[in-house]
C-alpha cells in the first residue's frame, strides 16, 4: 500500500489558488449546458412549489426568503462573473439554512421572553381574548332549534325558560316569535334541522353573530344558546385592552397585558416580546446560576479532557496491538472491539447503570467479592464521576481505535527502518515517531471529540441525572452536571416550566467557551505540526 500523507499535503492545494480559474471553453458541449439548465429548472420548480405552499400556509416571510435565495442561486448560475463560486453555492445555501439561521435564531431568542406562558404572538393572544364572553346576572339560557335555508343561511329558534319564543338571524337579530309553542317544520324559507342534523353545521354556526338588545346570543351546543357579552375589547390604535365587565384597562408590557398597577391580566396567556438584556442580566445576577458555575465548568473541562485522554489511550493501545502482523485472529479481535461503538449509546449506558447498581449489579457484586465492599457508584460524587468516565471510555474507545488504526497505516515504514538504523528502541520509536506523527493526523479529531464531550448531555443525564445532589445549596446543579445539563436544569425545571430565552442565553455563553477552547486547541496543534516540519 502506498504511503498516504494526505493531511500534510493538503495545504499545498491552496497554492493553486492564484493560478487562475478554469472557465468553460466555448466548445463545452451542448449536452452539458442542457443538463445544467435542466438541473437548475428542476431546482426552480421545486423552489416555486415550496414558495407556493409556504405562502398558502401563511408563512409569508419564509416564502419570500426562499424566493430571494432561489433568485440569487439563479443569478450565480447564469452569470459568468460568478463562475468561481458556482459550485460552492449549494454548500453556502445549506450552510446559511442549517448553521447560520439556527444561530441567528438562538441569539434572537436570547433577547426575548420566549418561555412557557409566552409562546403565542400578541395578535394571537388578543384574538383569543376577544373570543371570551361574560354573562350578566340576568342573562337567559335558551333551548335552541336550528333552521337552514337552501342558500345556506341560518335561523335560530329560541325558547326561554318561561316558554317565550324568538327567532334570531344574523341580519335581523332577535325577534319575538308570537306564535309560540313547539318549533314548526318551516319558518319562511328556513327548514328545520333535527338535533343530529345540526352537528354538521356547528362549525358554521360558531361563526354567526346574532345580537339582541344589549346582548349577543352565544351558541353553546347543538340545542343550547345563552345571552352573553364580549368580555374584552381591543383598541389597536391605542394598543389598549378593555375589560367590558369591570371597565378596567390593560396595556401590553413585557409580554403580558397589565393594569395600571402593573398587575397582569388574570387567566390570560402572555405573548412573546423582546425583553432586551433581561436574560443576560439574570445569568450574571442570579445566585442559583452564579453559585456553582465555576465548579460545574471545572468538571465539564475535566470530563471532556479526561474522556478524550482515556478513550485515546485505550484506543491507541488497542490499535497498536491490533496493527501488529504477528497477532493471530486480528480481524476477529478488531470486530469485537468495535461492538461498543455499534450499540446505541443510550442502551449501553442504561445497561452499565444496571451492571453497576451497588446491590444488584453483577459488576458491583464482583467488586464486592474481590474487596469486600460494594462501591457506592451513584451516591458518592467522586465515584459517580469515576463511573461516568468509565462508561464514557467504554463508549468512546472503538472510535479512537478505528481512527488510530487508519492513521498508523499512513506512517511510512521507511521512517521506522531509518530509526532502527539509528539505533532507536521500541519505546523510542513510539515516543519520537509514532506518537507525534499520529497526533498530526488525529489531532483535529481529538479537538472534535473534546468539543463533542463538552456538550455530552446523554451520558451525564442517563448515568445519574447529574446527581448525586450537592447538599445544602439551593442550586439545581448536581455534582456531576456539566454545563449543558446544568443549562437544561436551569431552563426547563424553573419556577414556571420551560424558559427558552434563558436557555438560549446560556447556550450563547457555552458557545463562546467552547469556541475559545477550540481556537486555543487548534493553535496548540498547529504549533505541534510546525514543530514536526
Amino acid at each position: 500500500m502506498p504511503p498516504k500523507r494526505s493531511v500534510k499535503r493538503l495545504p499545498n492545494l491552496n497554492d493553486q489558488k492564484g493560478g487562475g480559474v478554469i472557465r468553460p471553453t466555448s466548445s463545452s458541449s451542448f449536452r452539458t449546458s442542457f443538463l445544467h439548465m435542466a438541473g437548475l429548472a428542476l431546482l426552480d420548480a421545486l423552489a416555486l412549489w415550496l414558495v407556493y405552499s409556504l405562502l398558502g400556509n401563511g408563512a409569508g416571510t419564509a416564502g419570500i426568503l426562499v424566493l430571494v435565495v432561489t433568485g440569487l442561486v439563479n443569478w450565480v448560475f447564469l452569470s459568468d462573473r460568478f463562475y468561481p463560486i458556482r459550485w460552492l453555492t449549494p454548500g453556502l445555501v445549506l450552510m446559511l439554512l442549517l448553521v447560520v439561521y439556527p444561530l441567528v435564531f438562538t441569539v434572537y431568542v436570547a433577547f426575548t421572553n420566549y418561555s412557557d406562558g409566552h409562546i403565542l404572538s400578541k395578535q394571537q393572544v388578543v384574538e383569543q381574548l376577544q373570543r371570551r364572553y361574560f354573562q350578566t346576572p340576568d342573562a337567559i339560557s335558551y333551548q335552541m332549534t336550528v333552521y337552514r335555508s337552501p342558500e345556506g343561511g341560518f335561523l335560530l329558534f329560541l325558547q326561554d325558560p318561561q316558554g317565550n319564543t324568538y327567532t334570531g338571524t344574523e341580519e335581523q337579530g332577535i325577534q319575538a316569535y308570537p306564535v309560540g309553542g313547539e318549533p314548526p317544520e318551516r319558518i319562511g324559507p328556513y327548514q328545520k334541522l333535527s338535533l343530529a342534523g345540526t352537528f354538521q353545521y356547528l362549525t358554521e354556526l360558531e361563526k354567526i353573530q346574532v345580537s339582541g338588545e344589549g346582548f349577543q346570543v352565544r351558541i353553546t351546543g347543538p340545542n343550547k344558546a345563552r345571552q352573553a357579552l364580549a368580555k374584552y375589547t381591543y383598541d389597536p390604535d391605542r394598543d389598549l385592552l378593555t375589560d367590558n365587565e369591570t371597565g378596567k384597562i390593560y396595556r401590553p408590557v413585557g409580554g403580558s397585558f397589565v393594569d395600571n398597577e402593573g398587575k397582569p391580566l388574570p387567566d390570560a396567556p402572555g405573548f412573546t416580546a423582546v425583553v432586551g438584556l433581561d436574560n443576560f442580566r439574570r445569568v450574571f445576577s442570579d445566585p442559583q446560576i452564579q453559585g456553582p458555575f465555576l465548579r460545574v465548568f471545572l468538571w465539564t473541562v475535566t470530563f471532556a479532557g479526561m474522556t478524550v485522554l482515556l478513550t485515546f489511550s485505550v484506543g491507541l493501545l488497542l490499535a497498536l496491538v491490533l496493527n501488529d502482523n504477528r497477532l493471530p485472529l486480528r480481524t476477529l479481535f478488531r470486530s469485537l472491539a468495535i461492538i461498543p461503538y455499534t450499540i446505541p449509546g443510550f442502551i449501553s449506558i442504561l445497561v452499565w447503570v444496571g451492571l453497576l447498581n451497588p446491590y444488584y449489579g453483577p459488576f458491583s457484586l464482583m467488586i464486592k467479592d474481590l474487596i469486600g465492599v460494594s462501591p457506592d457508584w451513584f451516591s458518592n460524587g467522586t465515584l459517580t464521576k469515576v463511573a461516568i468516565l468509565f462508561i464514557n471510555t467504554w463508549l468512546g474507545f472503538p472510535y479512537m481505535m478505528l481512527i488510530n488504526l487508519g492513521a498508523l497505516q499512513s506512517i511510512p515504514m521507511e521512517m521506522y527502518e531509518a530509526a532502527e538504523l539509528d539505533g532507536a528502541g521500541r519505546f523510542a520509536k513510539f515516543r519520537y515517531l509514532t506518537l507525534p506523527l499520529l497526533l498530526i493526523s488525529v489531532g483535529p479529531l481529538l479537538i472534535g471529540a473534546f468539543a463533542f464531550n463538552f456538550n455530552n448531555f446523554t451520558v451525564i443525564d442517563l448515568v445519574n441525572e447529574g446527581g448525586p445532589p450537592i447538599v445544602g445549596t439551593s442550586t439545581p446543579a448536581g455534582q456531576t452536571d456539566i454545563l449543558i445539563s446544568y443549562t437544561y436544569r436551569l431552563a426547563f425545571a424553573g419556577g414556571r416550566g420551560a424558559d427558552f430565552g434563558l436557555a438560549s442565553t446560556i447556550a450563547i455563553f457555552i458557545f463562546l467557551i467552547v469556541a475559545s477552547l477550540t481556537a486555543f486547541n487548534f493553535r496548540f496543534t498547529r504549533q505541534l505540526e510546525e514543530v514536526m516540519r
Binding site: 439548465m37 435542466a38 416555486l48 405552499s53 394571537q124 343530529a196 362549525t203 445544602g472 414556571r496
Partner: protein
C-alpha cells in the same frame, strides 16, 4: 444567442415541471369536496337532506392538505394532521388510537361529520400541540393527562369546556383534576392512582396500618424470606407523596375554590418533615434501600424477593404475566389516611382548532355516554371516571385502585410543579443516601422551590 437560448430552455422546463407538480395540488380541493360531499347523501337519509351538500365546507380555505384530504385513515405521517373546518381532527397516542378511530367512525355515521384520527407518541401530543397549535396546524381535540393543564393553559392552548348536567356523572376528583383557575378544560375518562401491591404467598392478609406493614417487612427480612420487605424507588417524589400526606404533610395548599396555591408550599410543613424523618429512619433500619429504580423494584417483586411496593394500574399487565401471586390493597394508614396523587386521562379541546363548538359537542353529547365510555374502557382497562360505568365494573384489582384514587388528590397541574419535582426528588435522594438530616433536606428543597417561584414571577 447562448443566453437567450438558456433563458428560453429554463422557462420552458420550469413551466413544464410546474404544470406537472401543480396538478396534483390543484386536485386536492376537488377530492376534499368529493369526500365531504359524498357522505351526506348516504347518512342523512333519516333527516331532511340539505339541498346543496357540497356547500358545507368551503374547500378553498386550505390550500395544501395533501395528506389530510386524501387519507381519512389514521396514518402516522411526519407532519400530524391539522384541523380543518367541518372535520374533527383528534390526536391520540398509540394505546388508544383504535378505540378512538372506532368511535369516530360511529360518530360519522350518526352525525355526518368526518372524523380524522392522528396517532402520536403520548408526550408528543402535548409537545406538538405547543408548536402546531399556534401555527394553525393543530388538532381539534387531544387526549392526554390532566397534569398537562398548567403548561397548556398558561400557554393559551386550551379551550374551556362546559359539561352542563353531565358533570354529575363524573368522579368529582377527576373533574377537579381537569379544573384550572376555576375553569374546566377537559372531559375526564380514566382515573389512576397508586395502591399497595403485596405478595399473597408471603403476606396472606394485607396490613392495615403502616406500623403493621413495617413489622411484617422486618420479620420477613430477618427470616431472610425476602431480600427487601418493602421497596420504594429512590428519589421519586410521586411514590413518596402518600407517605408525606399520611403524616400530615402536603405539597401545595388549596385556595378557596379548591385549586392549588403556589404561594403555600408545604414541603417543609411539620407533617412533611415527619414523613421525611420516617423515610430516614426506615433507611437507617434497612427497611428502605437506596439505588432502587422502577425495573429493580418490579424485578424484586416478581421474583418474590420483596413483599410490598406502591404501584399503579400500569403495573397490572406486568404482574399478571409474571405469574406472581399478588394482591392489591389500600395504602396502609399512617397518622392519617394517606392520599396518593391521582392522575386523570381525558379529552381536551384545542384553542386553535377550527371546529371548537363541534369539538365541545363531540365531547359533551357523544363521548359522555355509557356506550362511548364502555368502549374506551374495553380498549384500555383503567379506573373509569364515568360513574355509571364504575358501578358495573367487575375487575377487583381495578376497583381497588379506583378506591385508592378516591382517597387521593389530583396531582397539581400548576406550572410551578416543574420546579417542585426537581427539588423534591433531590431531597428524597439525599435522605435515601443519608447525606444530610432529613429535616434539613426538606427545608433546603422548600427554600429552593420558593426562590424559583419568586424569581419567575
Amino acid at each position: 444567442m447562448s443566453k437567450s437560448f438558456r433563458t428560453a430552455t429554463l422557462i420552458m422546463i420550469a413551466s413544464f415541471l410546474l404544470g406537472a407538480c401543480a396538478s396534483p395540488a390543484a386536485q386536492v380541493p376537488a377530492e376534499a369536496t368529493a369526500t365531504t360531499g359524498a357522505a351526506p347523501t348516504e347518512a342523512v337519509a333519516t333527516t331532511e337532506a340539505p339541498a346543496e351538500p357540497t356547500a358545507t365546507t368551503p374547500p378553498t380555505t386550505e390550500p395544501t392538505p395533501t395528506e389530510a384530504g386524501a387519507t381519512p385513515e389514521a396514518t402516522p405521517t411526519p407532519k400530524p394532521l391539522a384541523s380543518k373546518e367541518g372535520t374533527l381532527t383528534i390526536w391520540v397516542d398509540g394505546g388508544r388510537v383504535q378505540a378512538i378511530t372506532d368511535l369516530g367512525k360511529q360518530f360519522t355515521e350518526a352525525y355526518n361529520v368526518p372524523v380524522e384520527v392522528q396517532e402520536l407518541g403520548f408526550g408528543d401530543v402535548r409537545d406538538q400541540l405547543k408548536i402546531a397549535g399556534p401555527a394553525g396546524e393543530g388538532p381539534d381535540i387531544i387526549i392526554g393527562a390532566h397534569d398537562w393543564l398548567g403548561e397548556l393553559v398558561t400557554n393559551g392552548l386550551l379551550e374551556p369546556l362546559d359539561l352542563g348536567d353531565k358533570a354529575e356523572s363524573f368522579d368529582p376528583v377527576s373533574l377537579q383534576a381537569f379544573t384550572y383557575n376555576g375553569q374546566l378544560y377537559g372531559l375526564p375518562y380514566a382515573v389512576e392512582a397508586i395502591a399497595l401491591v403485596y405478595n399473597k404467598d408471603l403476606v396472606p392478609e394485607p396490613p392495615e396500618t403502616w406500623e403493621e406493614m413495617k413489622e411484617i417487612a422486618r420479620n420477613l427480612q430477618e427470616q431472610e424470606e425476602v431480600e427487601q420487605g418493602y421497596v420504594l424507588q429512590q428519589g421519586d417524589p410521586y411514590h413518596t407523596y402518600p407517605i408525606i400526606t399520611g403524616f400530615g404533610g402536603y405539597v401545595f395548599g388549596r385556595t378557596e375554590d379548591g385549586s392549588y396555591n403556589p404561594e403555600d408550599l408545604g414541603l417543609d410543613s411539620p407533617g412533611a418533615i415527619a414523613a421525611a424523618e420516617e423515610i430516614d429512619s426506615m433507611v437507617k433500619e434497612g427497611l428502605l434501600r437506596k439505588d432502587i429504580n422502577y425495573e429493580i423494584m418490579m424485578t424484586l417483586f416478581k421474583e418474590g424477593k420483596s413483599a410490598f411496593f406502591l404501584g399503579g394500574p400500569w403495573t397490572l399487565t406486568d404482574l399478571r404475566s409474571s405469574g406472581v401471586n399478588y394482591g392489591i390493597a389500600k395504602i396502609p394508614t399512617m397518622e392519617q389516611t394517606p392520599r396518593p396523587f391521582v392522575g386523570v386521562q381525558g379529552f381536551m379541546v384545542s384553542a386553535f382548532g377550527k371546529n371548537k363548538l363541534l369539538a365541545q359537542t363531540f365531547l359533551t353529547e357523544y363521548l359522555a355516554t355509557d356506550e362511548a365510555m364502555q368502549a374506551l374502557y374495553q380498549a384500555v382497562p383503567n379506573g373509569p371516571a364515568w360513574l355509571p360505568l364504575r358501578e358495573t365494573l367487575d375487575d377487583a384489582d381495578l376497583l381497588m385502585f379506583a378506591e385508592s384514587a378516591a382517597d387521593g388528590e389530583p396531582m397539581p397541574a400548576i406550572p410551578q410543579m416543574s420546579a417542585v419535582w426537581e427539588s423534591w426528588g433531590k431531597a428524597i435522594t439525599i435522605i435515601f443516601q443519608q447525606q444530610q438530616p432529613a429535616d434539613q433536606a426538606m427545608k433546603d428543597a422548600a427554600q429552593t422551590i420558593r426562590e424559583k417561584i419568586a424569581e419567575s414571577q
